[in-house]
Symmetry: C2
């Protein structure tokens, strides 16, 4: 049969709702939809070509993830940003990520080591090929995410990994927020390399320390260069 007769437009998941959830999440994280921006159904309907209820389902899911703010009877909007929220997300990330790194270093097997090494390798390749601002490169974003995921992938707790993933998304939105105003990326390549080495050599204390300062210094960077976007009243 002809495969693309009408094509009920599904790219990510199997359901349209899951697909739209995915696309909306990406756009919010990338700040293509700005913080606080109202998410009106007319607009979304035209933009994503789905019906009210399907969109509503996607927005509800994102509200549970903390990327969307649901105001009952008054619609949805992109979750606001604030210095306080940035601090909370950063602290929570440190708490969780530190625990997961420790567990992964303790439990990780050969496959884990291979995953850490190879994801870092790919990340470095992309950085060499294209040394400009990495956050604008979708490939870099994916590789970066996969490296950090690989680091904690051997922790053994799907529950904590899910929490970690949500916090990572929320933090990435802040990184995008400041990306346009940051002068130059600092030496992330070196930091990633050091973290990898500490992890592979099973030096948990060092890895934890490096991860924590990696997370915190990134957040500090955001806080300074996106200050004008965070202190709004």
């Amino acid at each position: 049969m002809p495969d693309s007769a009408i094509r009920p437009r599904k790219e990510f998941g199997k359901t349209i709702a899951a697909d739209i959830t995915h696309r909306l999440r990406e756009e919010i994280i990338a700040c293509a939809l700005a913080p606080n921006e109202p998410l009106r159904f007319d607009v979304l309907r035209e933009r994503f070509g789905a019906s009210f209820t399907t969109l509503r389902e996607a927005l509800t899911a994102l509200a549970a993830e903390g990327l969307v703010d649901a105001q009952e009877q008054r619609g949805f909007r992109v979750a606001p940003v604030s210095r306080q929220d940035l601090i909370e997300v950063t602290d929570a990330r440190v708490l969780v990520e530190v625990e997961l790194i420790r567990r992964s270093i303790e439990r990780g097997d050969d496959d884990w080591e291979i995953a850490v090494i190879s994801t870092l390798h790919r990340l470095k390749r992309i950085e060499q090929r294209d040394p400009e601002h990495p956050l604008r490169d979708p490939e870099w974003k994916i590789a970066h995410r996969q490296f950090h995921e690989a680091l904690v992938s051997a922790c053994g707790s799907a529950t904590l990994l899910a929490i970690r993933a949500e916090l990572f998304d929320r933090a990435e939105r802040y990184r995008h927020l400041s990306a346009n105003f940051r002068p130059r990326p600092r030496d992330k390549a070196g930091e990633h390399q050091a973290i990898m080495q500490a992890a592979i050599s099973r030096n948990a204390d060092l890895a934890v320390q490096l991860i924590e300062s990696h997370i915190r210094s990134t957040a500090d960077n955001v806080a300074t260069y996106a200050a004008h976007l965070l202190d709004t009243e």
Copy 2:
């Protein structure tokens, strides 16, 4: 005007969807809807008197909370239980709760102390009045939840509190799971009292230690008395 003319049936939130989310969550936590039970729309439609899309929205939200399992194109079901999941939830709770207790003890003011003391007082009152199995008493459940919430309420992080609340719900479902098979509740009153005293006297290390064993021993209890429900294959 006549207030209950037709009454569009809204008890909890302002929207029907939020109300149904709330009611469904309660029933799942209380195991009125058993783990793994399929959540078919016909049945839910009759039970909650809402339409497909409204129910779908509620189920999607609960899926994001980890209480419902969404199988694309094959509907929803109550999230399964397992020994592994119980361990993960318990470990995650310890990680988060310990951190929040520390912060609350450090930052808590007079109002915090009052909240901790008064919520414990109410809890003890209810336990005296009705010393049988407390999980069957909705008032005890609320009071118990409020005491534990009060303990961490001064932590200063809405983000971590939200994560904590989700984990608390998931753990409470396991407690209900074993409630019917547990011979007698152990001395929770004493444990709560000790935790309160450690917190109020700002003995963080002791409070942390007590909370951790409180959480872990409850989980151990569940693991033993609900063993036949956890080791299914």
